[in-house]
């Protein structure tokens, strides 16, 4: 039984290949069935997002798993096996575990610290669980991975500050206005970046949009999209006092909004602040606007600077996350090693011997000096005999199961039934601590 993962991601494969290899619900099902038919593979969880496609498996022998998954994936997504082999990575055991944990902690993401990956992993796992393509090992691994992801989120500040320009803009606006719900945004120019930022605003609860553009038809188009209102470019200044947030992205070669107009607008708003986002190059808004009382201006350079600082901070936090992940991988490995047959049998024997010795001592103590050495030997032999006979068949069965698919199920149940897990783990942890 070997844990392994085979996959491609945004770092190893071009987007064309990722598109082809991406797996929807149906394909995931087909792939799982196909792989489980093989005698060497006992558990499968496919994980497919826009940046990665990965298949986590439990195989009886490592090389079998790799070959099987590779060809099945190529076949289902109809790509050349060679193309896939070039881009795919294959991790086993410890590296595979740490890989999943890093993915869950969003350290492997395109944008380090993004929050979506957690729910994607959750969905992939639940789908696989429903398909009954998981068992003890992957169940435990994925549940643990979700916990690890959560731990990374709460114990580090990896996802705290946004790193994209448009979300930085929204984030800064939130530092002026506590909440954006019910606020009005004025879009000056109907550019792509403006639209992206406006989308972010919508997701933060902004419902009222005013769009102003040199060509009114384009403004109307955009206004439609955001359920807003298009106004002629010449009347821009009349609408300025209504806006809490102004996003400017025109291609104009000169300033569209000047200091004096902004001063007037703020006065008409009774000093309520306006947050200006200027994402045009060359700039649309007079930099002097930032000096106007209760006006806040951020141009593209300012936003990039904040984004850069935030990204640097995430890198720093990512290092903390790596430490957490290393810890958790260790934890999982500990559990995994407990599933080996030999230590389980040893533990079982140790436990039985301990019970036997304890009971013998108690019994012999009751006889005082009535017993001869011979008697004692006999009683001891009786106890040993019972223990040995009792343990014979489980031992043989366990040894046999070790070489079979799903054998760790026996080991796991044995450990649970006889409570063999706890002590050993504690002991190990103790010895580890003493090492520190």
């Amino acid at each position: 039984m070997h844990l392994a993962v085979l996959g491609i991601n945004h770092k190893t494969a071009p987007v064309e290949l990722r598109e082809k290899v991406s797996l929807d619900e149906d394909r995931c099902g087909t792939l799982s069935r196909h792989l489980l038919d093989d005698a060497g593979i006992s558990e499968v969880v496919p994980l497919s997002t826009c940046n990665r496609t990965e298949v986590y498996i439990v195989a009886s022998r490592p090389e079998v798993g790799r070959r099987e998954v590779m060809s099945a994936l190529a076949e289902i997504s109809q790509v050349e096996l060679r193309d896939l082999e070039e881009c795919a990575y294959y991790h086993e055991g410890e590296t595979a575990i740490s890989h999943l944990y890093r993915v869950a902690g969003s350290l492997d993401s395109l944008v380090v610290g993004e929050a979506q990956i957690m729910s994607q992993i959750k969905e992939a796992y639940h789908a696989a669980h429903k398909r009954e393509s998981t068992s003890v090992l992957l169940n435990r691994l994925f549940r643990h991975a979700l916990e690890v992801g959560k731990r990374v989120r709460t114990e580090t500040r990896i996802g705290e500050n946004p790193v994209s320009v448009s979300s930085v803009a929204v984030d800064m606006a939130c530092k002026v206005f506590e909440e954006l719900e019910g606020r009005t945004a004025l879009l000056v120019g109907a550019g792509k970046m403006g639209e992206l930022t406006a989308t972010h605003l919508v997701s933060h609860g902004v419902t009222s949009f005013i769009v102003s553009n040199r060509t009114l038809s384009r403004a109307e188009e955009m206004a439609e999209k955001f359920n807003g209102r298009a106004v002629p470019f010449e009347e821009l200044n009349d609408y300025l006092p209504m806006a809490d947030i102004v996003i400017s992205s025109t291609g104009a070669p000169h300033y569209v909004l000047r200091k004096g107009e902004v001063e007037r607008a703020i006065r008409r708003r009774h000093n309520r602040p306006i947050f200006f986002i200027d994402i045009a190059v060359p700039r649309d808004i007079d930099p002097g606007v930032n000096d106007v009382y209760n006006a806040f201006l951020y141009d593209i350079d300012d936003l990039n600077e904040v984004a850069g600082a935030n990204a640097a901070q995430r890198e720093k936090e990512a290092r903390k996350a790596e430490v957490i992940i290393a810890e958790e991988v260790n934890d999982f490995l500990l559990w995994l090693s407990s599933l080996d047959v030999v230590p389980t049998i040893t533990a079982l024997r140790e436990m039985a011997d301990k019970i036997k010795d304890g009971e013998l001592e108690k019994t012999l103590a009751k006889f005082d000096a009535d017993l001869t050495d011979k008697d004692i030997n006999r009683i001891e032999a009786l106890a040993s005999g019972i223990v040995n006979k009792m343990l014979h068949s489980p031992t043989v069965e366990l040894k046999r199961a070790a070489n079979e698919r799903g054998g760790y199920l026996y080991v796991e149940s044995m450990r649970r039934l006889f409570k063999l897990n706890g002590n050993k783990r504690k002991e190990r942890q103790k010895s580890e601590h003493s090492k520190d």
Binding site: N161, K175, V176, E178, N271, P273, N290, Y293, D302, A309
Partner: protein
């Protein structure tokens, strides 16, 4: 009676320690943004408040009159009010960060109370009136609210400069505030150090200080040392705060403005009632409403100051930095009215001076 005094003392010290620890935690929160830690801090603050409440209650019980007759009792009540209103504000608004200024202020005021600690004593004749607790409680509660406004107002100014990318002014803001605080504390410590001869009028029981030149020098020296230390701390804090990332540790402008405004909006009517009850009491005790004694004059100045805040805000639409600056200066006026007048100027309100 003795054991009650003992318990009261222990509880007061416990509250003081909890405020000190919480000051550290709330300042640390600004530096590290550790949410878990600050939650512990909030719990601790609640416990400190409870301890101080019980201490004040025991004082009331053991002395037989409302605990507002001397500087220890009224300062303790002042600190209590600050913590109470800060916890209320923190419950309704995300203003934990403001605690980095408000909680240390409360600690400072409570610890000054500790300096003036005296066992429970019977009231002097002039204070034997039911107006005592009405007048003092209301005045102290309004001061507590003004302190909250001050904290929120200060961080409003800082946050606004941060969002305007004007980092130099962030540094100046810290520098100015902490210098003034340092100067005031230095003067106070200096006056403590100077120990001028006390002259007490045997008839009126008005105590006045008789300062010699060396006493003035000591006070001045204390002020200079305080100023230097304040400058240094202000510079360090300002340097730490004047970077783009710091703005994400502070509440939004909207919240800070609102909390600062609410503090004054509730504090001003209380102050008005406090002054009116004071006038009625004065009429009863001395046969006059208003005598232009230093305390009365300064509380009128305070009242006009906050009146100006509300006037500019409600009828002229002021808000933001200008209002925040008034709120910050307002507390300095309050502290002078309260401590400065009691300690440096003698008058009819000088019961509070340690005789």
């Amino acid at each position: 009676m003795d054991s009650i005094t003992k318990i009261e003392e222990v509880l007061f010290i416990a509250a003081l320690i909890s405020y000190l620890v919480c000051s550290g935690i709330y300042i640390w929160y600004l530096i590290s943004r550790n949410e878990k830690f600050v939650r512990v801090g909030t719990m601790l603050l609640y416990m400190g408040l409870l301890a101080q409440t019980v201490a004040l209650g025991l004082r009331w019980y053991s002395s037989g009159h409302a605990p507002m007759s001397d500087l220890y009792e009224s300062l303790s009540l002042f600190g209590w009010g600050i913590i109470l209103f800060f916890l209320i504000a923190q419950h309704f608004y995300p203003v934990k960060a403001a605690g980095a200024l408000v909680v240390p202020t409360a600690f400072l005021i409570t610890s000054i109370a500790g300096v003036f600690y005296k066992g429970p004593e019977p009231l002097v004749p002039a204070l034997q009136s039911y107006w005592l607790w009405i007048h003092v409680t209301i005045a102290m509660l309004s001061y507590g609210l003004f302190t909250l406004s001050f904290g929120a107002g200060f961080f409003y100014i800082v946050q606004e400069y941060l969002l305007k990318k004007n980092y130099r002014n962030v540094l100046y803001t810290f520098l100015i505030l902490l210098s003034i605080l340092g100067l005031a504390l230095g003067f106070w410590a200096g006056s403590w150090w100077a120990e001028p001869a006390k002259v007490m009028d045997s008839v009126t029981q008005i105590v006045s200080n008789d300062y010699a030149t060396s006493d003035y020098l000591k006070i001045l020296g204390g002020g200079v040392i305080g100023l230097v230390v304040g400058c240094l701390l202000g510079f360090l804090a300002g340097k730490g705060a004047s970077k783009p990332g710091f703005s994400s540790r502070l509440p939004s402008l909207d919240v800070l403005d609102e909390v600062s405004y609410r503090g004054i909006a509730f504090g001003f009517p209380l102050l008005t009632i406090g002054i009116i009850t004071g006038a009625i009491w004065a009429d009863q005790a001395w046969g006059r409403w208003w005598g232009w004694d230093p305390k009365e004059t300064w509380s009128l100045i305070t009242w006009l100051f906050y009146g100006a805040y509300l006037h500019t805000r409600l009828t002229m639409g002021w808000r933001g930095r200008h209002s925040a600056i008034i709120a910050v200066i307002g507390l300095i006026v309050v502290l002078f009215t309260y401590l400065g007048v009691n300690l440096f100027l003698s008058g009819l309100h000088s019961y509070a001076v340690p005789a």
